[in-house]
């Protein structure tokens, strides 16, 4: 028995070192492999040195899970990474619900003494696990376009959530008082499932990075709670690590949108948006351009910055962007990428897409690095980004975007916006950048427009 715990200790240490390595570009790959090694050690020791009696349910389970996991991880296009991570997250949370339920059932069947701690840990495990499972499934459905990606709100939503939360707490108390009544646990799980869906419903597209990071944190906490149920230290340690890392990412995302933690989580974006007339801003001021004109601008520029947004992912434009960047560099133009922390649908989404297109990561600059350089930039190419380059965040204190740090692309000499139409971004407000004197619009599908630019530059 002792050397099982020793092996768990080794695995926990590998997780910690792995996570540390994952936070540096040079060591990240080793970190992931260390984490996987830790997992393998923990699984093997549990399988062959633990108190396993029968393998009949285990082996098929592992085979099915492995095959599904491999297929999903290999087949998924990089543009769909956010929904894949959401889905994996959900499975982790779901597993916690089932494991805690099974452990509780076992204690009841064996008529073991059920301590208060065990009952409380089981209730928490069921609550967080079910919220994670259903919340992640809904996030997946939203990102995959199965359900609407918009925020769904109805009157009294917060009140319903609060009542639901209180009922869940009361049922949790019942579990502690009547631990032999197994069915109470499953009622708690059912209600927590509804809560999970209710918490993700009011989260719309651009808020997804926050909720994905948060659900990531929850899946860790669910695993830790299950660790308390089983008195298993490796679950507690790993769960706490993931819970902490998810929380840090959530905080970074909220900060990048200048919103409080609570505001982010409950999706209470300022509904009282300013009454700006779209026509007042756009009419007679928006200039549209052609690929040929923009090609000349780009070719004569000394420095070009490309700022991608979710639209680049939707249009699968990352490879075309790479071709354009390489072409410009070969013609002596300095090209860099400015990436807003919440561009895309999950933290770091744009970086992954551009890395997939084999753009060297030294070219990918953070908002803080790129912002001071815009004044020395000849052309900024905005591809499928909107709210994160909207100057009203700086100028209009009553706007829903007020105070959000943005990419100051309007400081560049000229701005080219590639977009399908003038439709607003997620915040639902017009963007004066499109009507600015130094901005031209290039309408069309992101990928096609970039390819047109490449062709036009080639003919110069």
């Amino acid at each position: 028995m002792n050397y099982i715990n020793t092996a768990y200790l080794v695995a926990s240490a590998l997780f910690i070192i792995g996570l540390r390595d994952l936070s540096h570009p040079r060591t990240a790959m080793r970190g992931n492999i260390l984490g996987a090694t830790g997992m393998l050690i923990a699984v093997l020791v549990t399988l062959f040195a633990g108190r396993i009696i029968g393998y009949a349910a285990i082996l098929p389970g592992i085979v099915i899970g492995t095959v599904i996991g491999i297929i999903m991880a290999q087949k998924i296009p990089m543009t769909a990474i956010p929904q894949l991570v959401a889905l994996f997250n959900g499975f982790g949370g779901g597993a916690s619900v089932l494991v805690a339920g099974a452990a509780f059932a076992e204690a009841v069947v064996l008529q073991a003494q059920i301590t208060k701690q065990l009952a409380i840990a089981t209730a928490i495990s069921g609550l967080i696990g079910a919220v994670t499972f259903w919340g992640s499934l809904l996030a997946f459905a939203k990102l995959q376009g199965i359900t609407t990606e918009k925020a769904v709100r109805f009157p009294g939503q917060s009140l319903v959530n609060i009542i639901l939360g209180v009922i869940i707490l009361l049922i949790g108390a019942l579990i502690v008082i009547y631990p032999d009544e197994l069915w109470i646990y499953w009622i708690l799980v059912a209600l927590s499932s509804i809560l999970g869906i209710m918490l993700v419903l009011p989260i719309g597209g651009a808020d997804m990075p926050v909720i994905i990071a948060l659900l990531n944190s929850y899946s860790g906490l669910a695993a830790a709670a299950t660790g308390f149920v089983l008195s298993n230290n490796i679950l507690i340690v790993s769960g706490a690590l993931v819970g902490a890392s998810g929380l840090i990412l959530t905080k970074i995302m909220c900060k990048a949108m200048n919103r409080s933690f609570a505001n982010c989580i409950f999706g209470q974006q300022n509904a009282a948006a300013t009454e700006t007339k779209v026509d007042d801003i756009y009419t007679g001021r928006v200039k549209s351009s052609t690929a040929e004109e923009v090609a000349i601008m780009l070719d004569t520029a000394r420095r070009v910055v490309i700022t991608p947004g979710y639209g680049m992912a939707v249009a699968h434009a990352q490879h075309a962007v790479k071709v354009l960047a390489t072409l410009l560099q070969s013609r002596g133009v300095e090209v860099e990428f400015g990436i807003h922390p919440v561009a895309g649908r999950m933290p770091g989404h744009m970086n992954v897409l551009l890395a997939e297109a084999e753009i060297p990561y030294e070219k990918l600059k953070t908002m803080d690095e790129i912002n001071p350089t815009f004044e020395q930039t000849d052309v900024v190419l905005v591809i499928g980004a909107n709210d994160v380059v909207n100057p009203v965040a700086r100028t209009e204190p009553r706007s829903p975007l007020a105070g959000m740090p943005i990419l100051n692309v309007d400081k560049a000499r000229s701005v080219v916006v590639i977009k399908r139409s003038l439709s607003p971004g997620f915040a639902g407000i017009p963007n004066p950048l499109f009507a600015a004197g130094n901005t031209v619009m290039l309408y069309g599908d992101g990928r096609q427009v970039v390819l047109d630019l490449v062709a036009a530059i080639g003919e110069l």
Binding site: G18, P25, G65, G92, S96, V99, A102, P341
Partner: protein, 93 residues
């Protein structure tokens, strides 16, 4: 109670370790960090294996079996997709 307090101690200390280890992660690695840590949270697999292999009664075995499938997808898929992403970052060194 004794057992609970020592479990709680481990939980709190591990949380602090988590905060310390992750704090300085560059934005470029946010996605791989999330999917990698996500795979680690699939550690529930250990509990799932114990439940599925306990052989106590059929309900527990079924719960354990489904949990093994879920957690294995989480673990295998999570580490693999992270590896796939990091390989793309690596090529440019």
């Amino acid at each position: 109670m004794e057992l609970f307090i020592s479990a709680l101690t481990i939980f709190v200390l591990a949380t602090f370790v988590g905060f310390e280890v992750i704090t300085k992660v560059p934005p470029i690695l946010h996605t791989p960090l999330m999917s990698g840590s996500n795979a680690i949270s699939g550690i529930t697999l250990i509990g799932a294996l114990i439940a599925a292999g306990a052989g106590e009664n059929i309900l527990i075995t079924i719960l354990g079996f489904i949990a093994v499938v879920f957690a294995t997808i989480n673990v295998v898929g999570g580490f693999l997709v992270t590896h796939r992403m990091l390989k793309m970052f690596k090529q440019k060194d």
